[in-house]
Symmetry: C2
Subunit: 212 residues, 2 copies
Amino acid sequence: MVIKVFIVDDHYMVIEGIRSLLQNEKSIEWMGHAMNAASCLAFLQQQQPDVILMDINLPDMSGIDLCKEVKMKYPSIHIIGLSSFNQQSFIQKMLDNGASGYLLKNATREELVYAIKTVIEGEIFLSDEVELTVQKNEDSKVPIITRREMEVLLLIADGLTNNEIAIKLFISTTTVDTHRKNLLAKFEVKNTASLIRMAAQIQLIPFIKPKN
Amino acid sequence: MVIKVFIVDDHYMVIEGIRSLLQNEKSIEWMGHAMNAASCLAFLQQQQPDVILMDINLPDMSGIDLCKEVKMKYPSIHIIGLSSFNQQSFIQKMLDNGASGYLLKNATREELVYAIKTVIEGEIFLSDEVELTVQKNEDSKVPIITRREMEVLLLIADGLTNNEIAIKLFISTTTVDTHRKNLLAKFEVKNTASLIRMAAQIQLIPFIKPKN
DNA sequence: CATAAAATCCTGTTTTTAGGGGATTGTTTT
DNA sequence: AAAACAATCCCCTAAAAACAGGATTTTATG
């Protein structure tokens, strides 16, 4: 049985690289590619692959969200996350959203083929380096914050003081301070600098700074 | 005349992708690849290509520094920067260090070939999108900070206070405060939160937090 | 060698955060 | 219905950062 593979990545060179790596594999059929989430979903309405290799960073939607949506609509498709970074937070989220594996972009042909064959069997595949990270950073879990805390976090990142945030949200400064304290506690950091850094790294803070 | 091309990238899939894209180009000869700066430099001691496609993010040394070193030792080699991100700061630094062009990883075969042929002529090649960014973000210029300011910035991002930084760097707390003031001024922000956010977004702060 | 830039240090004041305690009202969730 | 959570508010203290306005020494660089 031939395994039908589809890829979603916004880097043409990566698509081409994977295609090239797979072209001599008789047991794998290349179905094509999409360069964003929208065209991926459009493609899936026509045909369904067995495995999707999905980049984490897409222009229109994060791979994490796309993964969730695809698994909801087509539960039988196996998804392998794909990215350059060995970021435990992303890997965890992908797996939580139904992904069957995670592959780094410096993987070899052998790893790639093995990953596809593993997830088809219903098993989980993780790159060697990824597994190490998952074990190593087991303690550094992504904090669960509330909606209000998120609002406050974003305003802190925008450079507002507690007082300015209070005015903006029509609440007392002491309330803002409490939210801030909770954020520091949940992120297990002791000041704003570390808080913003962590939040930026796990991509809680959007890149484009909205003008007020 | 055949153009000899070499590539330095730590992502196997990108190497394979470029190789695949170039394999039918008769005017281009594939010399091979390196997956880090060290093996690139080792290779150059044996043979010299005409063009090097160089990733910005390498495991052992930044592409920006490697670019400088290569151009110093082998001025006749043309270097094209390669990365996933359309980051004006990196592009500028690469060009300052002697690169002849900058290509995004979502470039097509045509762009890739055109880029190689352009830089061989001694001209500068920039991806279309890159050129747009260079123009678009002309106002939001990347601040030029000194080495010491960079050290302080990283320690701030690590969550250290001025006093802790002072102890670490064997300088006075007031000096750290001055560096901090200069950082705020150069980034045109008014507090630490905005500073760290901006620094994280232009990728001045490394992802993997070094353990002290 | 002269000038500019970088790195160092200082004295203040004001504002903002961090840390330690609370407490009350709703809203989920079990 | 009780427990857990979210969101709101309060007091107090100490530490840290931001703001202002200096100065000196070292290190590059034309």
